[in-house]
Symmetry: C2
Subunit: 321 residues, 2 copies
């Protein structure tokens, strides 16, 4: 049992930029510690300030290099940057090659940068539950920008990207990414496309494909259209990264002008509340009659005596008693 | 509004091997149609017979080729085979290159094979909800084996693999897969490792790495140990596929002998019941006061006036009124 934390003290130290205090707060919220509610309440007045940027893309597009370059650019502009890595192949979450990890060491000793891996499994409610909580901590700790990096596969990753004010989708030439993106629904979530490795053959074709796809799928927001920007980068040489930051700022300005920023944040809060409520209800379902209720029902379903819908009805009815 | 289906008639036709009837039944259960419960009840007596095999692995290991070869091998043994593809990069779900798709055409005209993509988004509860329902249909339709193919990334994919009686983890030499697998928790779910592209440099090293990792993490089941098998294949030449089928059968026999098959199936039923109950509760949460309850709470959370945990408490309390 860890010692009880002095929450106001921790928050004060986190807001002072002390990484250990920030890490401790994230642990307190993501592990559903007994102090979770005290922390959540104490964080609340400080939240709602950070600019939240999502980054997604298939493995191999240079996502980690781009994140690193973006962190460098934002730091050069004097901004404090938090990174939440929910990509199992990311160097931040420990999955990638040593070379990538060494590259991120540039930021490892910088107090204006805080990096957290969200790769932990077995969470109550999974990543889609834990990530918004970590985001709240970084927001309250006063980070100007929080980057959420995720691989563009799987529903939970898409859920996580939906936390962002602006979402970057990274592509690289010649990976068939255009088609993949369309299939995976990534197109619908992109506010900005970043074509990385833009010095490679096929970059022009990738940009043309994207322009064509964008022309097919204009999204109306508050009576106006945001036409996703396309930015070319060579992230490992830092080229084009300034343009990425400019595109993010432009998108944020556009959203603020059209009431969309408020909408997105409200939507984010809805999902967060829902995720917490669902996790709480899920836990209660498992606890009905000390866990015996679901086991008994599962035996009957596995034996082909009962369908799982009727079993679920029974379980919910038992919850209400 | 689609016409109301004659459920017993559909099930009879599905059990007779008619692909359109099978597809219709899957649509009825995965889209939570008004007839879902009627279908679920009618399917129940026919379930619990199919052997369920999960296949997972990173993109590029030859997963689709292996699936195709495995289907061919099982067909040659006279077995009817269903495939549920939950991998967005899979040819079955439409994400991969034309060449792969052409390869699967071998099975496209075979009535003993049924292939279903589970890549659809926006499902009530997502893939982890829809996939077990589709599995029930294929089971009741009398398929001897159901292969669930998924990419080894993301919690929802791991959830899906947990439906299987036996789980194959595919690797290929020289992709750093061993390390990736360990990081991603794939190791813990593997019953059989398939080292594909075994004619490539590094295959011996991959096998050695796996053996070492297996030696570190023996899993006790019912007082005995299942030591994951390692099989080498060259799937595009069909080499080693017989050994894969033999390993699956051996694992199934071992599980039956140790009571583990029943355990896994009961566990699968528990997850299925839970997923249905959670989806139902989630829907009810969104419906409290016609959806106004969560919106009002989200506004206060987004404004920094209320923490999301207290908001979730309020929402659950409103649900019970």
């Amino acid at each position: 049992m860890p010692r009880t934390a002095d929450v106001p003290e921790l928050i004060a130290r986190a807001r002072d930029g002390q990484p250990r205090a920030i890490a401790r707060l994230i642990s307190l919220v993501e592990d559903a510690s007994p102090q979770l509610r005290a922390v959540a309440t104490a964080l609340t007045p400080f939240t709602g300030r950070a600019q939240v940027v999502g980054l997604t893309g298939s493995p191999g597009v240079g996502k980690s290099t781009s994140t690193s370059a973006l962190v460098g650019e934002l730091r050069a502009a004097g901004k404090r940057v938090g990174v939440l890595a929910v990509d199992p192949s990311s160097p931040f979450s420990g999955g990638a090659l040593l070379g990538d990890r060494v590259r991120m060491q540039d930021h490892a000793t910088d107090d204006g940068v805080f990096i957290r891996s969200m790769a932990t499994r077995g969470h109550l409610g999974g990543l889609s539950w834990a990530t918004p909580q970590a985001l709240r901590v970084l927001d309250a700790a006063g980070f100007d920008v929080v980057l959420i990096e995720t691989v563009g596969v799987g529903q939970s990753e898409v859920d996580v990207v939906s936390l962002a004010d602006s979402t970057l989708v990274l592509l690289a030439p010649g990976m068939g990414d255009g088609i993949q993106a369309a299939k995976a629904g990534i197109l619908e979530i992109a506010d900005i496309f970043v074509v990385n490795k833009a010095d490679r053959d096929g970059a022009d074709q990738t940009v043309r494909d994207l322009k064509y796809m964008i022309s097919l799928g204009r999204r109306e927001i508050a009576g106006a259209f945001w036409r996703p920007e396309i930015v070319r980068t060579i992230a490992n040489r830092g080229e084009g990264v300034t343009d990425v930051v400019a595109a993010i700022d432009k998108h944020r300005g556009w959203m603020a002008d059209h009431g969309e920023l408020e909408q997105r944040r409200q939507h984010r809060a809805e999902r967060e509340i829902e995720a917490i409520a669902v996790a709480a209800l899920r836990e209660r379902l498992g606890d009905v009659r000390g866990g015996q209720a679901i086991t008994a029902l599962a035996k009957r379903v596995a034996a082909g005596e009962l369908d799982p819908y009727s079993a679920a009805d029974d379980l919910i009815a038992a919850l209400r008693r």
